[in-house]
Symmetry: C2
Subunit: 283 residues, 2 copies
């Protein structure tokens, strides 16, 4: 492929995994890490990156810039790249919301040089030590192109396919609507459940429970820092999703143990079963 040098900005779980996965596809060029000293050290040790540089120096050489920071940091990084970005370099990101990031790129970068992306992949552990060359394999990878493919975008698609990712295209708006319901709402329900039990103050609530409570509070372990900017950049969609689930909860409350409850349970069971038929195998 035409890409000889790749810069990964933010060498954490996603950035480190992208570096390892890129090597696994046979990529022999340089992978420059732009990150904190600790992340650089860990990324070099794992061979997820092959060198380190500042953002400005990395931009001079990179054919592909992969922004793998949290959403708020990506929004800070994009304007800093405006001056130094070479003609022909593709910038793409792995941020969890797309509307604000794509708008930011369109405001600050030349048309055609940015491609929004979101790998629907992750694990509980964070950081480059948890990086995994197969993190994207058999996982969805959403792209939000705004124009026709350039040769660079074609090369990036080829890389993602070689990593085993299933690429799916949609607009930034469609992405943010969808993820509000399938990712941000589940996160908020898990967090709200754990916070509700914490507030109650009855010690038995942290003693008498089965595996269901553990399942339902796993997402609540997620880092607040990551989520603050996800929620801030998808406010309207997430507000609508909260309204929708609160309506369903109020409907359940009004009919506890009546046949209406059974109807809601049946719709829910059917949906939960249907996504298990489509779901890629869990790692």
């Amino acid at each position: 492929m035409a890409m000889e040098t790749v810069a990964i900005v933010g060498v954490g779980l996603i950035g480190g995994s992208f570096g390892l996965a890129l090597r696994k596809t046979g990529f022999a060029g340089e992978i420059i890490g732009v990150s904190s000293p600790a992340a650089i050290a860990a990324g070099l040790k794992r061979s997820a990156i092959s060198s380190a540089a500042s953002l400005d120096l990395a931009l001079i050489r990179a054919d592909l810039v992969y922004l793998a920071q949290p959403v708020d940091r990506i929004l800070e990084t994009i304007p800093l790249m405006a001056a130094g970005l070479r003609q022909g370099t593709l910038v793409t990101d792995a941020g969890s919301t797309k509307g604000a990031i794509v708008a930011c790129a369109e405001a600050h970068l030349r048309a055609g040089c940015f491609l929004g992306g979101h790998p629907i992949a992750g694990k509980e552990q964070r950081g480059p030590d948890a990086a995994d060359a197969d993190l994207f394999r058999n996982r969805l990878y959403v792209l939000t192109p705004r124009g026709p493919d350039t040769p660079q975008i074609g090369d990036f698609r080829t890389i993602l396919s070689a990593m085993g990712a299933h690429v799916m295209e949609m607009s930034p708006e469609e992405h943010d609507h969808t993820l509000a319901y399938t990712s941000h709402l589940p996160q908020l329900l898990s967090t709200a459940l754990a916070a509700t039990l914490a507030h109650d103050g009855d010690i038995r609530l942290s003693q008498v429970f089965g595996s269901g409570l553990l399942d339902m509070t796993r997402l609540a372990l997620s880092s607040p820092e990551l989520w603050t900017s996800i929620l801030r950049t998808n406010k309207r969609e997430v507000e609508a999703a909260i309204d929708a689930v609160v309506q369903v909860l109020i409907g359940l409350k009004a009919n506890l143990g009546e046949s209406e409850t059974a109807n809601t349970f049946e719709q829910a069971t059917a949906f939960a079963a249907s996504i298990r038929k489509r779901a890629p195998a869990k790692p």
Copy 2:
């Protein structure tokens, strides 16, 4: 022990597992199944029971009657036992709510012959084919005694300990308050989440998701029939639990991406981490 004959009413996952676990403790007496023909056949095949009888005939011989039906069925069975129950027979149950069942037993059965119980154990599969001699091992088993222990209650405690269960005592009211938050609310949140996504109608909502949505909709696969009577017999506590989580959700909605969100996330993370320190190892 003094118990020579045990009757299991409802030979499903819990009843069948109780029979297998009882055998594993070395119990050599008869285990009479009282259940549907299909459940009896499966229970005999698994050796979870050693014979079958009608409820009336089982009562003539049983020293211990283990009610392992859904809550609504237990409430139907208890009054039917009033006439035939021998002096000295202990009746206990495995129902998911305790207030209504204990009140029903106190209204229909002699004082001291009933002991409410709830094994906090289960699995996704149902029925006697899924029965497991170790289902109760290292799991909580709540008992709700209303008076001093009789010799029969002492024998039953010994059986539960021999099965590896961790016995915990509380009042029926404390049980129902606690489980409203740690079991019934998680179930309703999972069901409400899946129903909300089903209602939206956007096909992407069943296509673009990660493992978090699978975790959060696992409970939604539960059977509506079981849950209707659980919710009906714990209405007030569950209503309060729904109100509490809706308040938290509305608070999150009002401050999406602000520092108040981060506070709620931190409380939730701390609670979710704390129950993982206490939680018995998952099967």
